[in-house]
């Protein structure tokens, strides 16, 4: 337990000490929030879908969590390059303890980033509809964070160096974000697009978060919770599998 805690604490310390990283990873979601939110707002309203900021905010919070979580997982690569990973891998601890400590730490950092972006959403005019559903929103934030830290862990365990990092961002992370319903409603979409989105675990995360904050789930809270939770569990197991196979 203390081993998981100390590795969790390490991730938090690294985060709080890296100002540049905090600002850099907040910039993109906030840019999306203001540019898209106010840019598409009038069109969205005219189409009869209501207030766009109100719709968009949960998607942007999910985006902040997604990016930060994947990045936390991929930090394994940095630790490998700068040697610290070896220190943990030859220590008399089980690899799963290392994975859990890192994943929980990365997920916590991602949730903090999500909460900061949420504050910006409030500034932009977002209003919580039902305070009673906040614990549900928190649960979805946690699951999104765990799921994507696990994906980061998989990528970080499989890659040898950072050269493939832009590839991962462009062909995995960005598509997952765009095809999640973070930016547009999931109803009445062309068949293929709708199918792709149904396969994307983030779709359920965004819907769950939006439902909890905004009142109204597209798929139902149970479906969202089960799909997202299962995906997170499976990916955590896969992440653990690949992490256990790292050779130093």
């Amino acid at each position: 337990m203390s081993i998981i805690y100390i590795l969790w604490l390490r991730q938090l310390k690294r985060y709080s000490r890296s100002r540049a990283r905090i600002f850099a990873s907040l910039a993109q979601p906030i840019l999306f929030l203001f540019a898209m939110g106010f840019g598409f707002g009038p069109t969205f309203q005219k189409a009869g879908n209501g207030n766009y900021i109100q719709f968009l905010a949960p998607g942007i919070v999910a985006m902040a969590i997604l990016f930060s979580a994947v990045f936390s997982g991929i930090e394994i690569l940095w630790d490998r390059q700068f040697g610290f990973l070896k220190e943990t891998l030859v220590a008399p601890v089980h690899r799963i303890q290392i994975v859990l400590g890192r994943t929980l730490g990365g997920a916590t950092v991602a949730i903090i980033q999500g909460l900061i972006v949420f504050c910006f959403c409030m500034i932009a005019g977002f209003r919580i509809q039902d305070y009673g559903l906040l614990p549900v929103a928190a649960a979805f934030m946690f699951l999104i964070a765990m799921l994507f830290t696990a994906i980061g862990t998989i990528v970080g365990s499989l890659l040898e160096d950072m050269q493939a990092f832009p590839l991962i961002m462009n062909f995995l992370v960005m598509p997952m974000f765009f095809f999640s319903g973070a930016l547009f409603p999931v109803k009445n979409l062309p068949g293929i697009l709708s199918g792709v989105m149904r396969l994307n675990p983030l779709t359920y995360g965004v819907d769950g978060l939006r439902g909890a904050l905004n009142h109204g789930f597209a798929f139902g809270v149970t479906t969202d919770f089960v799909c997202l939770g299962l995906a997170a569990l499976v990916l955590l197991a896969v992440g653990n599998y690949f992490f256990a196979r790292i050779e130093v």
Binding site: I3, I6, R14, F84, T88
Partner: protein, 267 residues
């Protein structure tokens, strides 16, 4: 009375596809001895260290570290040794003390003893007054000293040092060896090291094994090695045993990304 054998390697073989990186080597190291493991680049030194330190499974043969088999009981074997890797393995974004604390927790040092042991180890290598500095601000020599201090925290029976003085100036190198000799003498710690500096090996090692192309080609005290090769210095003996050809090693992807990392301002 025979001294306890703390490291026992028997008929170790490691093959990568059809390449025999380590080809049937055996050796024993007694408690409190300083054992130098020398060889040209690519001779099998690092592969051997990896097998001894539980990160690589031997293809054949057995290892015992203080009585523990690294393959069957990796956790017990890991508690028995401390290691200083060839490349730094510190977290630069944490202070010296935080690096030590993390190690103490990973190695289950009892909570009540952690603070005292960290202080003693940092004082031993002369870094106690820098305990709150980030590891990334340390010079190469300071990092190495911090890593030695860290490796001692869980009071291991064996200390593995992979080129501990690489890239250090002569003053720091002498300091590092002084620490290591003190440890072997006063704590009866077994030290297993590799180096490319033959004069150092000659000076500090009680026993030396020279490995080339995966096989041990000579084994004995530095004096005996020089005598057998009819050489004045260990370096001459080394060259007469391993030849003049230059060995090439490929730059690993780690080296490449480390360069990239520096561009991005990481440690």
């Amino acid at each position: 009375m025979t001294a306890e054998k703390v490291i026992v390697a028997s008929n170790l073989v490691k093959t990568f596809k059809d390449f025999r990186a380590v080809d049937d080597i055996s050796f024993e190291v007694e408690a409190g001895k300083i054992f130098g493991f020398l060889g040209p680049n690519g001779a099998g030194k690092t592969t051997t260290i990896k097998m001894l330190t539980t990160t690589l499974a031997p293809t054949q043969g057995t290892i015992l570290l203080a009585g523990h088999d690294p393959q069957r009981a990796p956790l017990a074997a890991r508690r028995a040794f401390g290691i200083v890797f060839q490349d730094p393995s510190l977290d630069g974004e944490m202070t010296a003390q935080e690096n030590m604390k993390l190690h103490a927790v990973l190695y289950s040092v009892p909570r009540g003893e952690q603070a005292g042991r960290i202080e003693a180890a940092l004082k031993f290598v002369g870094l106690w007054d820098r305990k709150d500095s980030f590891a990334k601000t340390f010079s190469g020599g300071m990092k190495r000293r911090l890593e030695i201090a860290r490796a001692l925290l869980h009071t291991p029976r064996i200390l593995f040092l992979d080129e501990p003085t690489l890239g250090l100036d002569p003053q720091t190198r002498n300091h590092v060896w002084e620490y290591i000799q003190t440890l072997a003498r006063d704590r009866n710690m077994t030290v297993f090291f590799t180096t490319h500096y033959m004069d150092e090996a000659d000076r500090v090692a009680d026993e030396i094994a020279i490995i080339d192309r995966g096989r041990i080609v000579a084994h004995g005290t530095p004096g005996a090695l020089k005598e057998n090769a009819n050489a004045a210095t260990l370096e001459e003996a080394f060259i007469s045993l391993t030849g003049h050809a230059i060995r090439d090693e490929q730059a690993s992807s780690s080296d490449r990304t480390r360069t990239m990392g520096r561009l991005w301002g990481r440690t």
